[in-house]
Subunit: 238 residues, 2 copies
């Protein structure tokens, strides 16, 4: 009955069979992706176990999984810590990796455009809607954190859909490694939403390229990521 504290907090009555390990994983991931995560701060196994009302064993397994995301780093016999933010050169590497992965994946996804186009149209519409909402909130004064979160989610969803529609488990798996880093970059670099109009325009260009074959899609995606990189560079020196 010691595990009740976790499950009762879950509103869903039907609980998927997937062990405490995954619950701990989700909880810790929420904390790491949420605001107020201090890089370098210790992630005590026992503390997490006590806070979540579970034993250290599933916590250890969850942390091993999290190592892969690059959000936590581990030193043997010393424990886990929140990973340091991406340095400048690591940021360049991240964009290089995105150029390789996303351009290639976009070309593969473009093999059958009819199955992906509706989903992309919907995602872009949502992205545009949130861009307008952010724009209004920005003029009104400040932007609510929840709105910001939704905007970033819509932005990334466009990229995520392209990965999904490759139907390639290996590429999808690699995209997850990228996803967490991009999310983390947005916390640290704080590139903001100043490029919202440009980003949506470039997404539109990618979408339109789907009717012109894989090569056009690949080029459009490459162009988009290169521009995102340039804007991120400008922000970091601001």
């Amino acid at each position: 009955m010691t595990t009740d504290s976790l499950f009762t907090s879950n509103s869903s009555p039907s609980i998927e069979r997937r062990g405490l390990r995954d619950h701990v994983y989700d909880r810790v991931l929420d904390v790491l992706l949420g605001p107020g995560v201090e890089p370098g701060s210790r992630l005590s196994i026992d503390t997490i176990a006590r806070d979540l009302g579970v034993s250290p064993t599933p916590v250890r397994e969850a942390l091993v999984q999290l190592e892969r995301t690059g959000l936590v780093s581990r030193v043997a016999n010393k424990g886990y810590t929140v990973a340091e933010p991406l340095a400048a050169d690591q940021l360049e590497s991240l964009f290089d990796a995105r150029l390789v992965l996303e351009s290639g994946s976009a070309a593969i996804a473009a093999r059958n455009p009819e199955s992906i186009l509706p989903a992309l149209e919907e995602a872009l519409a949502e992205h545009l809607k949130l861009t307008a909402a952010v724009h209004d909130a920005s003029e009104a004064g400040d932007i609510p954190l929840e709105l910001l979160r939704e905007y970033f989610a819509a932005d990334w969803n466009f990229h995520h859909l392209i990965f999904e529609h490759t139907h390639n488990p290996f590429l999808i798996d690699m995209s997850e490694a990228i996803s967490t880093r991009v999310h983390r970059m947005r916390q640290t670099v704080a590139t903001g939403v100043s490029d919202a109009e440009e980003a949506t325009a470039e997404h539109r260009a990618i979408l339109d390229a789907f009717s012109q074959g894989p090569e056009a899609v690949e080029a459009a995606m490459r162009s988009h990521i290169l521009k995102v990189r340039d804007r991120a560079r400008d922000d970091s020196v601001r």
Copy 2:
């Protein structure tokens, strides 16, 4: 003193501080990559723990890490099993992923050819040496398993060096996910060494392309992987 059985078997007197978890990981990985691994067979945590003389906890952690390699699969409350060999469609996905990753990585590695060329030359020389050795052994009758292992290692080392010379931690990390699958494919598809001459020739073409810029290298790598895929397809229907 229960851990002595592990460490005493290690001839190296200076042991890096890296926990039992990594030792278990290495041992299980050796078994999985070695011959005689039956897909679907159970990987009992307690059995492994007893065999290696450790407790189940570090074994669990090692298996979580191995999940990522795709060599083991897990069912909640049912345990770990040796992953099934790659199906035909998964093999296609693997080659698609290689096309994306390796072509892109080759282009990045080609940014400064002078630092990678000597290493590639050496790797290709070793590959050629082993190709000749395999050829001789093949005519003599049968090929020793150890020689076969060395040949495959030399073959992959060429690809591995290109990944390493991107100096991109994300791409290198992704290459490891590919590496284990390629190794596994060679066990199951048993494409053999019939294409040794063609493979070395294509590697030579890639190497020569480094003096013609990133685009040439990318094209050469793409051509190589496409040909490898074609040969693998021929083998599977043979």
